[in-house]
Symmetry: C2
Subunit: 393 residues, 2 copies
């Protein structure tokens, strides 16, 4: 995916591939104000190593950010990570031995797939529908694995505005999922980078909150989407004994996260209401999502389907079976100057080859329309090729 992103940096290429939040609208005067206080009060300390678990003031602020979603937490249950990605890496690294089975939605976050591979996890995908992960299907899968003598180490899930599917797990399923986790002693790794990037509907309870401190949920999130990804500041909330293990992993991985970035987040949250900034960028994303949905109606073939996310950064489109989206992506970049993420990268079992992830947060509405138009042209060419050469019927 990152390789595609760097291809997509060539001039003239429209990229719907990345997960870039809008950073253009961040106000310079706020940056200047933060920098002033950093220089004046924290210069020596922000240039120094910090504690592995992160600055105490930041962990306290993170608890307040979590409380916005009704997730109660205390600073001793929080560890700062180098972006949300490191939270995934440390979760998998802490719980998974080579060859262990883990569960993840199908499709799952494409950026988690190399992490699963890195720790040699065997991944089984749990299907989703418009209401998110299908808990019945999960239960059947657990039974089947049990019959095989396989005990999955964890379920990695993104309940809100799932990346890449763009769907949200319903309240009823969340409750059932946590009950099931308790019954079956299944650890849930809840990744929630997008929960507050909401355009529509009400916030639903986090799995963390529904667990009520029973210890079956490790919660991951990040400031990447609510403030800035360039800071690389994310976090893990977990029961302290789990956190101690993950802390050892972080010591080995990078000792601590950028103290300068952490201090920036602390001073930003102290001075400004992040929810205002978030409301502003979410408004931008909503318009961009609408532009994308309109363009898809106009440009994609009638057989195509796609999700209609109520938040987040991505939607997931599925094309007729005979269209391989990896081939389509190569054609789209080379001949049409547009990039997206082919769906195969969101599965560990070879599926997803006629699907694609489209990002609507990173570019303007007119660019989105033009980008989808170009993908539509590339699809049209593949359909023509199929008519000319393909199919035995």
């Amino acid at each position: 995916m990152r390789d595609l992103m760097s291809l997509a940096e060539r001039p003239g290429i429209i990229t719907l591939a990345g997960g870039f939040p809008d950073t253009e609208s961040f106000p310079r005067e706020k940056f200047d104000e933060i920098e002033r206080v950093m220089a004046q009060d924290y210069l020596a300390s922000l240039l120094q190593y910090g504690p592995t678990e992160g600055l105490r003031e930041l962990r306290e602020a993170i608890c307040r950010v979590m409380a916005e979603e009704g997730a109660r937490c205390d600073p001793d249950s929080v560890m700062v990570t180098t972006g949300g990605q490191q939270g995934i890496d440390l979760s998998i690294g802490t719980f998974v031995d080579p060859g262990d089975t883990i569960l993840a939605e199908g499709p799952t976050y494409p950026g988690a797939v190399p992490t699963f591979t890195r720790y040699r996890a065997q991944v089984r995908h749990v299907p989703m529908d418009a209401d998110g992960l299908i808990v019945d299907a999960l239960e059947e899968m657990l039974d089947a694995l049990d019959a095989e003598g396989v005990r999955p180490k964890l379920l990695y899930t993104i309940p809100n505005f799932q990346n890449p599917a763009g769907v949200t797990m319903s309240r009823e399923r969340r409750v059932r999922l946590v009950h099931l986790a308790h019954d079956r002693e299944l650890l849930l790794v809840e990744d929630n980078p997008y929960g507050q990037v909401r355009f529509e509907g009400e916030a639903l309870p986090t799995l963390w909150e529904l667990d009520q401190g029973a210890g079956w949920v490790v919660y991951l999130s990040t400031f990447s989407k609510i403030l800035s990804p360039g800071l690389r500041v994310g976090w893990v909330a977990a029961p302290p004994p789990v956190l101690r293990k993950m802390n050892l992993g972080k010591q080995a991985a990078d000792l601590c996260s950028s103290t300068m970035s952490q201090r920036f987040v602390v001073e930003y949250l102290r001075r400004f209401d992040y929810r205002e900034h978030l409301a502003h960028v979410s408004g931008i994303y909503r318009s961009r999502r609408d532009a994308m949905l309109t363009a898809l109606e106009e440009e994609f073939p009638a057989e195509a389907t796609w999700s209609r996310p109520g938040g987040g950064l991505f939607l997931w489109a599925t094309l007729p079976d005979f269209i391989n989206t990896r081939e389509l992506a190569a054609r789209a970049i080379e001949r049409h100057g547009v990039a997206f993420v082919p769906g195969g990268g969101a599965f560990c079992d070879g599926r997803g080859n006629n699907s694609m992830r489209l990002n609507f947060s990173g570019v303007s509405e007119s660019t989105i329309s033009e980008g989808v138009h170009r993908i539509g042209n590339a699809i049209g060419e593949m359909i023509e090729l199929q008519k000319a050469f393909g199919g035995g019927e």
Copy 2:
């Protein structure tokens, strides 16, 4: 080690445990100047994701920093890492399968030990003397391993001002080591965080340069000691095919390093001569080292020995056999208010129990004298205890 560091944050405790460079002397007007240009010209981009391999301008600047030590490199052979620690983690993660044997100096960097453990490497230690790693001993060890049918995946080495031993590998041994690596097809992971933190003597050639592009050296370094550790900006130089593999590891680990930190380093290096800052802090460290050597002569028992580093941040002291430095460290922190790193953490095979690592960069000369005085008292108590209760002779 990090746990000790957090203990050592209690008020009144003198810590000679950490590896804290001096950040107090960083000039505020330079920080302000950099922040101004960051706000004016790079605000949206420094808040955004960057490429996994790091900002191009930073990779170019890194090549110039390496050139100061005579190490030629091009930006395509460089990847930015989240501190030097991530360079170690990615090197081990890329080359080591669980159960593989690797080689490291004995003692080795205590912060690398959890990384070795994380990837389940079997570590064999190569002995050192005042001229660094003993290449004859390495050769014998390779022969012995060969006879066992074991092929070590790599040698992790810190040729300059080794952490924790405080010794530097001689020129002759460097030449022999690289020849041996070529002959025996042994990958060298050269960690060089301290090479430019030199108080005495001439710079010696890096293994990277001696390898002359043959591909048997992966080079690691960091801005932690030459600018600031709080930025968490380090780097790897490696042949591009190796770097591509490590790039995949970095995607899984944290996607990219803090763009804000990277931009800060770029703009700092563009405007100021980092060698001036380095000369300034190195002068401070030299005086602190001298204070520590003087205090050791006065306070430590006659049977103790220690290294006399010509640069870097650490020295290594060895006490009489009967003194367990883990016990000593507990006594020193609890009863005498002083922290150091017990030597056992620098070995993977149970050795080092009568040794300790002492840091001389992080606190003032008078604090160093007082700290060594306190450790001396703790040692005195242990010697008294030994006389009263220990020993069967």
